[in-house]
Structure formats: C-alpha cells, structure tokens
Amino acid sequence: MEEILSKLYEMTALSGFSYQVAIMWVIAFVLLYLGIKKGYEPLLLVPIAFGVLLANFPGGGMGIVPAEYIDLEGGRYKNLFEIAHDYGIMNYLYYSLIKTGFLPPIIFMGVGALTDFGPMLRNLKLAFFGAAAQIGIFSVLLVAVLLGFTLEEAASLGIIGGADGPTAIYTTIKLAPHLLGPIAIAAYSYMALVPVIIPLVANLLITKKEFKINMREMDKKYPAKHNIKNLKTVKIIFPIVLGVVTAVFVPSSVPLLGMLLFGNLIKEIGTSTARLADAATGPIMNTATIFLGLTVGATMTAEVFLSPKTLGIVVGGFIAFAVSIAGGIVAVKIYNLFAKKKINPLIGATGLSAVPMASRVANELALKHDSNNHILQYCMASNISGVIGSAVAAGVLISFLS
C-alpha cells in the first residue's frame, strides 16, 4: 500500500514541488492579474504569464532547457525532431521559432502594416528626437558593464530603453538568450507603465511654460517650406527608399527594419495588396504573438529566473526607460535654445518606441496644461522615428557584439 502511495506521489507534480516553484507560480499569477484585470499589455502579458506557469509545473516538461542541452560535438546542434523527442513541444517551438530569430521580424511586419508614417513625413524635423531618445539604451549599457554584466548581457538590458518588445526580444536572442524571459517581461511591463513613467520624468524636467508650447500656433507663425501635395505617393516611395538606405548603412538592422518597411509598403499600396496587409496584421501577427508570448514565458524556469541578475534587469530596465525619455526631453530643450520655432519638450519624451501609447500620454499631459494644445500628431512623428531609431540601435549592438 505504502509503495502504491509512494508511486502515486512520484507521479504527481507534488514530488517536484519546491519553494522556488511556488514563487514562480505567484509571479505567473501576478502577471496574469496585471494582464487580465489591469489591462497591462494583455495580448502579450497573458501568453507570457501562462508560459511561465506551464514551464513551472514540475514534471510537465514545458520549461525551456539551456542551449548547452542541444549542443552536439563539432559545433553542431540536435535537429528539431530530436529536440521535440527529448525535451517536448515547448522546446521544439522555442528552438524553431525564437532561437532562430524568426518571430520578432514577423511581428515587426505586422507592426509596419499598422504604422502610418504620415505624421512623421509631415513633421520630418521631429524625427531627430527619436534618435536622442535612444541614449537610455547606451547609458544603461555602460552602467550594467560597471555592475558586472557581460557586454552582451548589458546590451540586452539596455535595449529595454528602446521601449520596443520585438526589438528587445530579437536583440536578447542574438546576444544573451539566457536572459530572454526577464528582459521580455521587463520590456513589456515598462511599456505598460508608460502612462506612469512619462509623466514622472516629464514633470521633473519640463517647466510649466514649456508644457504650454502650442505646436499649431508655432506652425502658423513659422509655416513649413514644402507641403506634401500627394501624400499617398510619398508614403509608397518612402519605405522602399528607406529600406535600401538602412540596409546599406546598418545591414544587421535589416531583419527588423526590412520587415517593418515591407509591412508598411503593402499597407500603403492600398486595395491591390490589402489582402496581404490584412494577413500581416491579423492572422500572422496574432499567431506569432501567441507563440512568442508562450515560449518567452516558458524560458522563465525557477532556476533561470530566480537569480540576482533578474533584479538587475528590473532596475536597469526602468533606468533605461527613464533615461531614454529624459534624453528626448533634453534634446528638445537644447534645440529650443537655438531655434525660433519652439517645440514642446513632450514631443521629445515620445522619442522612445511604445507606439502609440507614449504619444497619447504626452498629448494628455499637454492638454492638462492647455486644453487647446493638441500635440498628438507631432508626438507621433518622434514616436514613429523612435521605432526606427531603436531598431537601428539594436542593429549596432548586434553587429558589434554577436
């Protein structure tokens, strides 16, 4: 009888249960609560949280195994059938879809098909602030190296400051795949917290007078030299030319930017490619999001996640985010010192990706100080350029360190 009970006990998950597993369950439940009840990036946080839960059922065999497990002698790897046979379907999905770097560019294609470059093309000058806001990525890279992270880990940590989930995941896959879980969680959590972080940094750095800078009045005072007569043609030519130029200068950013621009092109062409754009933004992107979320969550096994480095990632990610926002604001302030046509510094704060939430938050802040000051379309200009900026920054990090 005792033997049967012991065998029963061995068969259940109870035999492999430990306090580390319990902590991971609590983390998964908290993430599920944030995604379902609080609405924090639910499309990603819910699959990630459930992936965490699946990976931490002892005996379930859904946790992602370290890359060393699939290494063979002579620089070769196990094939996908062997991985599925030895470590289960979640590892099969992870090593075929994530480790190969397949899903983030696919998601970027959908993002491109959802992106409208119109606001940026109407206010091209504002694109520079999307560059300034990438400073957080590189500042945290420096600090993280001083704190003992390797260069590759520090770069993956810094890229959280780009505020772009697929970019952060893609960079981490290439540079520090063992940190993928915590970095993805930190990136998406802080993106969900944009409505809290932007006001926090903006109130610290922007004066009341600056909050009230009215962009439309500035446009009336100092009108643009060239108005766009045929926006549709410009929108179609733009992704093609931009794709060629970035491919020449930063080839390592092509997987992300190339797919983003392709997605954008099929959207802008119109009716004749509308079916492709619908597929990219609908079924393809949704399927990719499910598998990305579940597999990234499944990398967070107790052994990997419960380490001091995770705490460093959580803190470092926040600093990267805040410094990026501050970098954009300071760049606008410096510009305003020399320019007649002043720019509202909130537009600099949206230089990090997080489209369109960052713009919406900045617009609400501006409206709080002046109910007639609608700056959404201007914010979108630097916001969209931030997507390109963070992908370029990721390309630089990958080409230097991989």
Partner: protein
C-alpha cells in the same frame, strides 16, 4: 576597464549611427516630397467639382469619413447622388 572602454565606443558609434540614419530619413523624406510634388501632384479637382452639385460639403465629409472608417481606407467616395 576593457569592457567599459568597449561599451563607451559602442555608445559613441551607436548614437552617431542612430542620428545619421534619422538624418538620412529627414533628407530622404524631403527629397521624396519634393520629387512627388513635382512629378506626381494629387489629382482631386475633378472629384471635388462633382460632389458639390447635389450634396453639401458637410454631408460629403461625413459620408466620406464613415466610408473611410468602415472600409479601413480601401474605398473612396467620388460622387453622391440622391435617388
């Protein structure tokens, strides 16, 4: 100190590259706008002249906006007739 120095150089190269690419975007964008303004200005005059015959500007704008939202920009109103 070597990793820190390397991180510093990555920072310098990274920020310069990001600014360079976005500078190129501004430049390319302006060139494309000038090019399209010159060689492909929008042809809307004919459409506008037709619409005002039987429908007011406001009604036309409202119907156009509704069609734009429902069809996600795939369809365009060129003429409205009362039957």
């Amino acid at each position: 100190m070597q990793p820190f120095n390397e991180a510093l150089s990555i920072m310098a190269v990274g920020m310069i590259t990001v600014f360079l690419i976005l500078f190129l975007i501004v430049l390319i964008g302006n060139l494309i706008i000038r090019f399209s303004n010159k060689f492909s200005p929008e042809i809307v005059a004919e459409v506008k002249s037709k619409k005002t015959q039987s429908t007011s500007e406001n009604t036309f704008a409202a119907i156009s906006a509704a069609i734009d939202i429902v069809t996600k920009g795939k369809a365009k109103v060129t003429n409205i007739k009362k039957i």
